[in-house]
């Protein structure tokens, strides 16, 4: 049927199949966008361009959702989690793949076991632990557990990279009299850059989109992640459709913009995150 010759046929098939899927993917966002332009307090239709778009809703939502503070807070959380988590995962991945760590197999197995633990299974004890540490409500309350929760994936990811790196490189470095640190710093780290940047993207997404931890561990919505703040915003303005939609879009916007700008590396990272 679909012989290589029938190029036109292929084109039609893929268009007919992919375009509806694409419409399905964006239509809830479009629906929110048109609703965001309706007058506040009105009952906008699901999808239709308003006669008099109220662009001011976005400014109103910015203030109502306290977005300046929320974005600042998310950035702080990302800065607290991502660099440290990437550094720890890189070091551990390198150690487990290239150095002979005593008990390395056991340590690696222990970390891998963490991949299947749902966050919900840990949130109850975490709440009481963080409380007894006196950190409840602070940003550290999210930063510390999240860094720990990201370790299984991060170590797995970086170990897979360093395991594929040439062991001969390490040996050559040792023959030249390099210390372990110099060999890592001069030889392996530069080669690991693609793996590290992909991991950074994935960790960024995981932190920025994190909802459960901030919801439970930080009671003040303004100090949460953007995702955590969005939940609170919905609770507060659930009935004001226009304002809720405008605020939600503003909250989504940074992820969307970053994704569209970096879409190639994002798609790559997510696909390769799945398959190597």
């Amino acid at each position: 049927m679909n012989r290589p010759g029938s190029l036109r046929g292929d084109r039609i098939t893929r268009t007919l199949l992919l375009v509806p899927l694409m419409v399905f993917a964006v239509i809830p966002l479009l629906s929110m966008f048109t609703a965001a332009l309706a007058p506040q307090g009105s009952n906008p239709p699901g999808l239709s361009w308003p006669a008099h778009p109220h662009w001011g809703n976005f400014a109103a939502a910015w203030t109502a959702a306290n977005l300046s503070e929320l974005f600042g807070s998310s950035v702080l959380l990302v800065l607290g989690v991502v660099p440290a988590a990437v550094a720890m995962a890189t070091a551990a991945g390198y150690g487990l793949a290239q150095l002979r760590v005593p008990g390395g197999t056991f340590i690696y197995g222990l970390l891998l076991a963490g991949l299947t633990i749902p966050y919900e299974a840990l949130i109850t004890p975490l709440y009481y632990d963080i409380k007894s540490l006196g950190l409840l409500g602070s940003r550290l309350a999210v930063v510390l557990p999240l860094a720990g929760l990201l370790m299984p994936f991060g170590v797995f990811w970086m170990r897979a990279h360093f395991a594929s790196a040439e062991i001969a490189l390490t040996e050559a470095g040792q023959l030249d009299g390099g210390t372990t640190w110099q060999i890592f710093r001069r030889i392996h780290l530069p080669l690991a850059r693609p793996a590290i940047s992909a991991l950074t993207i994935l960790f960024f997404l995981a932190t920025w989109n994190q909802y459960l931890l901030p919801l439970v561990l930080i009671d003040n919505p303004a100090k949460r992640t953007v995702a955590g703040g969005l939940g609170a915003f919905q609770g507060q303005y659930g009935t004001n459709t226009a304002l809720l939609c405008a605020g939600s879009l503003l909250i989504i916007a940074p992820s969307l913009v970053i994704f569209l700008v970096l879409q190639r590396s994002f798609v790559k990272a997510l696909l390769h995150g799945a398959i190597r």
Partner: protein, 330 residues
């Protein structure tokens, strides 16, 4: 979050044969003398206690914030505790309750039902689309479609919940479309409907997962050698046989990833449901994640919440394990 988890656990299995070939650091430390015949090995890979320093930060962080709470959770699950007073031993009561209390049991049943929406529909539809398209040549259309299909996967799940809460509301787009197509009779507030709330929440899962599965399977099918299809069709294999003999085996890794990833997301769902229905109406959309949250922070039944959490972890493990094995057989 569980997104990361799922994706990885698959790779684990895929790579297992490789890691099996790795040296076994857990083995006995050979005395220096025994390595005399293998100077290379001694020079390149001496076992170093200092190497532990590389692993220590990650391991400590993980132990403190994952392993330790996990142990606590197991311990709590055998106690009655309200989070403030003293805990009293509960024996297996919290565990029995999972199977006897309707609210807890239905949370588990719903989690399994969500697999239909999070996994079967997206993987099935993605597989169908990938098979029919087979090859998406690089070009603007390919880039644009990949990007757009990926958008739901990149947004916070909370945003998916908010967007669809609006879509499903009485004035929302779903009802608008129904009215426009003459189906005005069946319009309703979908998320508040006792019969349709769970499928409605499930469709949000379809929205999040469909694009990801499609793009992943498309990229996988593009890597299958076209010669295999030619050979199959020369052998007189019809499309169905080609699908079974070439496409399915060729996509095994991708299929394992998609299913693992989406099943974990279904079993451990929280964000979407907490935002859109909070488990309601009644307990119609309650899932383990939301139930654990309720038990801990509304009912103060810490022991019960912990038992459910540990049980959920076990369920995830039991479901994922055979799928991983499937991906490994090679």
């Amino acid at each position: 979050m569980s997104r990361l988890h799922a994706a990885t656990s698959t790779k684990t299995a895929l790579r297992a044969p490789v890691s099996a070939a790795d040296p076994v650091p857990g083995g006995p430390v050979p005395a220096r003398g025994t390595l005399a015949g293998r100077p290379r090995a001694r020079r390149a890979r001496p076992r170093q206690w200092t190497a532990l320093l590389w692993v220590a930060p990650a391991l400590l962080c993980y132990a403190a914030f994952v392993l330790y709470p996990l142990g606590q959770s197991i311990q709590y699950s055998f106690y009655y505790w309200d989070g403030i007073g003293t805990a009293t031993p509960a024996g297996l009561a919290n565990w029995q309750a999972i199977f006897t209390q309707p609210e807890l049991l239905s949370a588990l049943v719903h989690a399994v039902e969500l697999i239909v929406f999070y996994t079967l529909i997206p993987v099935g539809a993605g597989l169908a689309a990938a098979t029919l398209i087979r090859e998406l040549k690089p070009g603007p259309f390919s880039t644009v479609s990949r990007t757009i299909l990926f958008i739901p996967q990149v947004l916070p799940l909370v945003a998916a919940g908010v967007a669809w809460t609006w879509m499903y509301s009485s004035g929302g787009l779903v009802n608008q479309i129904l009215r426009a197509t003459g189906l005005g009779g069946i319009t309703r507030a979908w998320l508040g409907d006792f019969t349709f709330a769970l499928p409605a929440v499930g469709v949000i899962g379809v929205w999040v997962m469909l694009g990801f599965c499609t793009v992943l399977l498309l990229s996988g099918i593009g890597k299958i050698d076209p010669a295999l299809y030619e050979a199959a069709s020369l052998d007189g294999a019809g499309r169905l046989r080609q699908f079974r003999a070439v496409t399915l085996p060729g996509l095994r890794r991708e299929l394992v990833v998609c299913t693992t990833f989406t099943i974990v997301a279904a079993l451990a769902s929280f964000d979407i449901i907490q935002v859109s229905t909070q488990g309601g109406p009644g307990y119609q959309t309650i899932v383990p994640g939301v139930e654990i949250y309720r038990l801990t922070f509304l009912d103060q039944r810490i022991g019960q919440a912990s038992a459910l959490g540990i049980f959920l972890t076990i369920v995830v493990l039991l479901v994922i394990w055979p799928i991983q094995r499937l991906g490994r057989t090679d």
